[in-house]
């Protein structure tokens, strides 16, 4: 039997090898998939609703969603003005305040409280801009949560959220 041309035997060997390889790959799927978040973790990460009524002007609260701290800050007139009257182009991570709040709800700032440098939680109402200050390496954020000074490269990120009513938001 010439070995130069593929024979029926070769086809059989190739077919067997291919089927075995497919089986091996398929067997790996559950082993890898089981490490993905399970159904209860996904369910616990479902959207939450937060009542804004108890939060006075000038006050900020922290809620947890998907394991992350989220600051909900009821900004004063002063804080809003300070956030809006800034030369956006001069910011390290340029973003207007209007892009960081919901229309008609300027007084509410909702940001994820994780410093974009190395992940510490910045402290609210601290620092030269009375915004946020991260004690770990000295990053300074303003009243819109935008980075102003320090090693952090980006503004505090926004979680997905929407106003269900004037006094209630749904995060997620």
């Amino acid at each position: 039997m010439s070995s130069a041309e593929p024979t029926r035997r070769d086809f059989l060997y190739i077919a067997t090898g291919a089927v075995a390889a497919i089986g091996g790959a398929a067997a790996l799927i559950p082993l890898i998939a089981q490490m993905n978040p399970d159904a209860s973790t996904l369910a616990a990460g479902a959207p939450i609703e937060v009542d804004l009524a108890p939060i006075a002007a000038g006050q900020a609260i922290k809620v947890f969603w998907r394991g992350k701290p989220i600051y909900i800050s009821h900004r004063t007139e002063q804080e809003i003005k300070a956030a809006q009257t800034v030369n956006v182009a001069s910011l390290p991570d340029p973003q207007p305040d209007s892009a960081r709040v919901k229309e008609g709800h300027d007084q509410w700032l909702v940001v994820i409280g994780i410093c974009t440098h190395l992940g510490c939680i910045p402290i609210a109402h601290q620092g030269p801009y009375d915004g946020f200050f991260c004690p770990c390496h000295g990053s300074v954020y303003d009243t819109s949560g935008r980075i102003r000074q320090g090693p952090a490269p980006a503004n505090l990120p926004l979680p997905p959220y929407a106003f269900v009513s004037d006094t209630k938001i749904r995060i997620g």
């Binding site: 035997r9 059989l12 060997y13 077919a15 067997t16 089927v19 075995a20 497919i22 089986g23 398929a26 799927i29 559950p30 082993l31 998939a33 089981q34 490490m35 993905n36 399970d38 159904a39 209860s40 973790t41 369910a43 616990a44 479902a46």
Partner: protein
């Protein structure tokens, strides 16, 4: 392996590696060119199957540990969380639990093969003893693994087996306390069993390496028992043994898949779906099937210490088999008298296994004593004497000669049947004197079964309107009601159902607990804050949680029905029992002494059930035209509970079908590959 490696690497990297760590040379000489007798039959594949099963158990075990919590308060629920929430968790758990049974089935066949063909004889004594050590480690590992789910059988098996050590004079009690880490089996016990259960498989792997090394030094035995003499007697391991083993391994995995996907709880005991309760001993404590013969031996000796001695010596004696058997002839093919005693011994082991599942009463005790006596007589008297008394048949001059003359190995079909029978679920459920429940027709039975959505929704309604006031469903979340393969409510429906329930939450900022409407992610809240409150409200009886009730109940099937059940895939014992009990309320017979606060039920074990008849005709107002009868309500709620216990049933059977088709194709391809590879060998 003997002599220098014949491996000659071609490419530069392989030469470089080989000069520094000759691992490829080792693989080459041990598993590629390694000479294997050409006449090995399929009984020789079980060594490879065992290595494969060890790998499967280790991989599935490591992955399960990522989700399991080894604490008495969380173990049972963490296993249920694996079954319900972890992606493919149900598959991993069933692979691991049934994998243990497959592991033991393979090891028993492997051991009996060795006993039949004299594979323990000179020069393979150390190989055999290493095997006995592996077997002992397997038994320890399997025992500790069974404790981990922390069910009723887990707890009580732990109690019984650790108590064995109290038989040791003087130091026994101290040893038992040391094992327990407390005054009874408890959390310290569970945690250390978890640690050791994770450790021992790697110890087994190490001994397996020694076992294979010892094998390769002396070479395989073969069905004639005559050692290979020339090259004509052997074939290279690859491709001949490799492909033949691969084929039979695929066949074995088909059997494994049959259990995993279609009858995953057949070999287990329903009582292990009841969370461990130190205050209540199950009516019949039984170990898993693979320990039953030794359980029978233990119980047959009326003296505590001697019973324990008999148990351990029944295994340890095996290590002395090379010296107990005095015959010069290895293979039973040429020992007609020994062969008869061998099959009697197999039957005795299977008989002991069956008896281990029976209560230790009456005729069962007498039979156990007879069979136990024979077990030891066979090892200590028959084997030594036979060597002198038997006239063996003349041996072939060589393996080639026996092959060419068409000498066939006696079909050991009985071994397979025996092995399968040993694998029977000898479940002795507490169904004494209660009749067997009638079989119902279930839409979810059989290989293509699915839940009837409308029925499960009706059953959920029955649960809410009737059962919920007393019975919790704590392992289920509202979101499960919307998942595939169940009642299939829509998203808004699930939210509406959840909102109808009040769920405890808090503490709030004032430090107080409060109630709020349920959300899909919440679990079903229990009707009572704790067990004592539940008992007080129910005349002292505790209404069981119903999350896994359909798997926590069963009934005695008896021989030969439990054999047929493997083939018919009868898994619906729990739902059949539930329907029977719900319809089984009757007036007590005149001579029956009904305890106070009980009701007579035909199918409840002991006939005195705390729950008064919960269902009556017309109680639940079905709107889909289904009959508003107790019979219908009971079937619907049983179907709902079957889904609640096994929410991934449909996915399991669907994937099972795909896996079976794949495995059959693979086995077929491997068979033809094997035939092609062996064609030249068979031609000469």
């Amino acid at each position: 392996m003997s002599g220098p490696s014949t491996y000659l690497p071609q490419n530069r990297f392989m030469k470089w590696l080989e000069a520094r760590l000759p691992i490829m040379g080792l693989v080459h000489s041990s598993f590629i060119v390694y000479p294997v007798p050409r006449n090995l039959n399929y009984w020789w594949t079980f060594g490879g199957i065992l290595a494969f099963m060890l790998a499967v158990q280790i991989v599935t075990g490591i992955v399960l540990v990522m989700h399991y919590t080894p604490h008495v308060d969380h173990a049972f629920n963490s296993v249920e969380s694996i079954m319900r929430d972890v992606n493919y968790g149900w598959l991993l758990r069933y692979l691991h639990a049934n994998g243990a049974s497959m592991f033991f089935l393979a090891v028993y066949i492997h051991i009996f093969r060795g006993m039949y063909y004299g594979s323990y004889k000179e020069p393979r004594e150390v190989l055999w003893i290493l095997g006995v050590i592996i077997y002992l480690l397997m038994m320890a590992t399997g025992f500790m693994g069974y404790v981990l789910p922390w069910g009723q059988m887990s707890f009580w098996a732990a109690t019984v087996i650790t108590n064995l050590f109290s038989a040791i004079p003087i130091v026994g009690e101290t040893i038992v306390t040391w094992l327990w880490g407390g005054f009874a089996v408890g959390n310290p016990t569970l945690q250390r069993f978890f640690s050791l259960h994770y450790l021992l498989p790697f110890v087994i792997a190490g001994v397996v390496v020694l076992h294979i090394w010892a094998l390769h030094v002396v070479g395989q035995n073969n069905p004639t028992g005559v050692e290979p003499k020339t090259e004509k007697d052997t074939v290279p391991f690859t491709p001949h043994a490799t492909v033949k083993d691969a084929f039979f391994m695929a066949v074995f995995v088909i059997l494994y898949a049959w259990f995993v996907f279609y009858i995953p709880n057949y070999l287990g005991h329903p009582d292990n779906y009841i969370p461990a309760n130190p205050a209540v001993t199950p009516a019949h404590i039984v170990p898993e099937w693979y320990y039953l013969p030794f359980y029978a031996i233990l119980r047959s000796i009326p003296n505590k210490l001697l019973g324990v001695v008999a148990l351990f010596s029944s295994i340890l004696l095996l290590a002395f088999l090379p010296w107990l058997d005095t015959s010069r002839v290895r293979s039973a093919n040429y020992r007609p008298l020994y062969r008869q005693f061998f099959w009697i011994f197999v039957a005795v082991c299977i008989g002991l296994g069956y008896l281990g599942s029976r209560p230790a009463e009456g005729g069962y005790v007498i039979a156990s004593r007879i069979l136990t006596a024979w077990y030891f007589i066979h090892l200590l008297i028959v084997l030594p004497l036979l060597g002198f008394l038997e006239t063996p048949k003349p041996l072939p001059n060589s393996i080639s000669e026996s092959v060419l003359k068409g000498g066939k190995v006696a079909a050991m079909l009985a071994l397979v049947a025996g092995g399968l029978w040993l694998a029977m679920p000898q479940s002795a459920s507490a169904q004494e004197h209660a009749p067997s429940p009638p079989r119902q027709k279930w839409s979810f039975a059989g290989p293509f079964g699915t839940f009837d959505r409308a029925q499960v929704q009706r059953g959920f309604r029955v649960y809410r309107e009737v059962c919920q006031s007393c019975h919790s469903l704590s392992l289920l979340s509202f979101r499960n009601l919307g998942e595939q393969g169940g009642p299939g409510f829509s998203g808004p429906q699930v939210e509406a159902i959840a909102a109808e329930y009040k769920v405890k939450d808090g503490p709030n900022d004032q430090g107080e607990m409060f109630e709020r409407p349920g959300r899909p992610a919440d679990r079903f809240p229990p009707p009572f804050p704790n067990d004592n409150a539940a008992r007080t409200a129910n005349g002292g009886a505790l209404p069981p949680d119903m999350s896994v009730l359909a798997k926590a109940r069963g009934y005695e099937r008896g021989f030969p029905w439990f054999v047929f059940d493997i083939f018919t895939q009868y898994q619906e014992l729990g739902p059949d029992y539930i329907v029977a009990v719900l319809n089984g309320y009757e007036d007590a017979p005149k001579d029956f002494a009904l305890p106070p606060n009980s009701n007579y039920n035909k199918y409840f074990p002991g006939h005195a059930i705390g729950m008064p008849k919960p269902l009556s005709d017309g109680q639940v107002d079905y709107t889909d035209g289904s009959p508003k009868t107790v019979e219908q309500y009971s079937k619907d709620v049983a179907a709902f509970l079957a889904w609640a216990a096994e929410p991934h049933l449909e996915e399991r059977k669907r994937i099972g079908f795909q896996v079976m088709i794949f495995l059959i194709c693979l086995a077929g391809l491997l068979y033809f590959t094997k035939t092609k590879v062996w064609a030249e060998v068979h031609a000469h």
